[in-house]
């Protein structure tokens, strides 16, 4: 009897192990933080002034937006946000519309790099982070938006406004396991002129450009200025600033910005072309010719536009 039950116990143990390892393809250890982040952010920080909005039914999207908008100085009620972002057919809200709704309310949504470091950098700088989590398992998703408002490095925990619970403390490991299932998606909602504390790049320029097409160039100008100053080597930022300055009538400023864009990326045909066109409108024909010749020399769909501008000098 015993000689038969031992192998069967062993088999069921192996089976249980197999089932668990299939189910739990993930690990709840504390996510690694770079030494640089540990050294550069305060040991613990909670952004006290983020107001809490509890969710009702399936409205964690609108509730999350209400919290980050209020903190950004553009308060909106959950009831007012529901028709703007909620998808009745999906009983939830999707990521692109979360970002779009932030834009409609005059703040710029910057999606942050998908790393715990970025969350801590933002919270440490006083920017609450809206995050998408899958609270359950990947094959049985429970998608949920919440706002990270604080952390404690010593206790390895985060503080979230989530669902019906204000200031919920969650271990970093558990949070990261649920956040990883959304490919670590999160964003900060900032007034034009404020930039994320986490690294900026091409994606930040795209965020400002998307905001500009909804709110107009005047509203976006401070954001372009801030990004071009913070990332002088990012050609797209100087280029966006150049266009915003040109649109608001500052030709001399536009020349400087387009020139910097072209110098940081000499293969950027659009920057040379715009530089040439603004110089031409200022009557600086000789300089315009030099810039337009650079644009016309680059293999690019803009080549023909550059050539005809050159011909009409």
């Amino acid at each position: 009897m015993t000689s038969r039950s031992i192998p069967s116990a062993r088999w069921s143990g192996a089976l249980l192990f197999l089932v668990l390892s299939v189910l739990l393809s993930g690990c709840a250890t504390t996510p690694p933080l770079s030494e640089k982040t540990r050294a550069s952010v305060p040991e613990r920080h909670v952004i006290e002034e983020v107001p809490f909005h509890g969710q009702r039914d399936y409205q964690c999207g609108p509730a999350t937006l209400a919290m980050v908008l209020a903190h950004g100085g553009r308060p909106a009620s959950v009831d007012e946000l529901i028709p703007k972002v909620f998808l009745p057919g999906r009983e939830g809200s999707v990521q692109p519309e979360m970002l779009a709704t932030v834009r409609r309310h005059g703040l710029i949504p910057f999606v942050i790099p998908g790393m715990m470091d970025a969350v801590l950098q933002e919270v440490g700088a006083g920017h609450p982070v809206a995050v998408l989590q899958n609270l359950s398992l990947s094959w049985l998703p429970v998608w949920h938006y919440a706002v990270v408002i604080g952390y404690d490095l010593g206790e390895e925990s985060l503080v979230l406004h989530s669902g019906e619970t204000p200031r919920m403390t969650v271990e970093m490991g558990r949070f990261d396991a649920t956040w990883a299932r959304s490919e670590r998606w999160g964003f900060v909602a900032l007034a034009p002129g404020d930039l994320p504390a986490s690294p900026v790049g091409r994606r930040s320029a795209k965020a400002i450009s998307a905001f500009e097409s909804v709110q107009g160039v005047e509203a976006a100008l401070p954001a372009w200025r801030a990004l071009a100053e913070r990332a002088p080597e990012l050609a797209l930022a100087s280029f966006g600033l150049g266009n915003a300055l040109a649109a608001t009538g500052d030709a001399a400023g536009a020349v400087r910005a387009f020139r910097r864009a072209a110098e940081s990326d000499p293969e950027f045909a659009a920057a040379w072309l715009n530089l040439g066109l603004v110089l031409r409108s200022l009557g600086r024909t000789e300089e315009a010719g030099r810039a337009l010749r650079r644009a016309a020399a680059i293999e690019d769909p803009l080549q023909s536009r550059a050539r005809s501008a050159l011909d009409s000098l």
Binding site: K84, Q95, L132, A205, L236, A246, P301
Partner: protein, 131 residues
């Protein structure tokens, strides 16, 4: 045929532009014909008319999808207008599979036990009482 296309295309673009893009980039105050920032962000530099039409049609598709998902038709216009070109593409390609952040409640009882175990292991965060 080509000539007809050439004559009709500008009108098609104009009508789409007027009906569906309330906030276009403002025309420049200092020089004509500048490449817009949106244009420069497309990898290939300039957006051909054809692509422009495709993009506007795709905004139309997203509008129809949102109405099919129960969004109030009076709200749809502004919701679509606030999306970037890239977001419109994403919505068009895979709205059905997109995660829709919803709720912490409503998990099936059948998987209660599994999730209870995973909650206790710190892998999930479904039941607040496990902490």
């Amino acid at each position: 045929m080509k000539r007809i296309t050439r004559i009709v295309t500008p009108f098609v673009i104009a009508s789409f532009t007027m009906s569906s893009m309330p906030a276009m980039a403002a025309p420049s105050a200092v020089a004509d014909g500048l490449v817009t920032t949106q244009e420069a962000m497309n990898a290939d530099g300039a957006t051909a008319d054809r692509e422009r039409i495709a993009e506007l049609l795709s905004r139309d598709d997203v509008r129809n999808q949102l109405i099919a998902q129960g969004v109030d038709p009076a709200e749809v216009e502004q919701r679509v207008a606030a999306l970037s070109d890239e977001e419109v593409r994403q919505m068009n390609e895979r709205l059905d599979q997109m995660p829709a952040g919803a709720s912490v409640v409503g998990v099936l009882f059948a998987v209660f036990v599994i999730l209870l175990v995973t909650d206790l292991l710190g892998l999930t965060n479904v039941y607040p009482f496990t902490r």
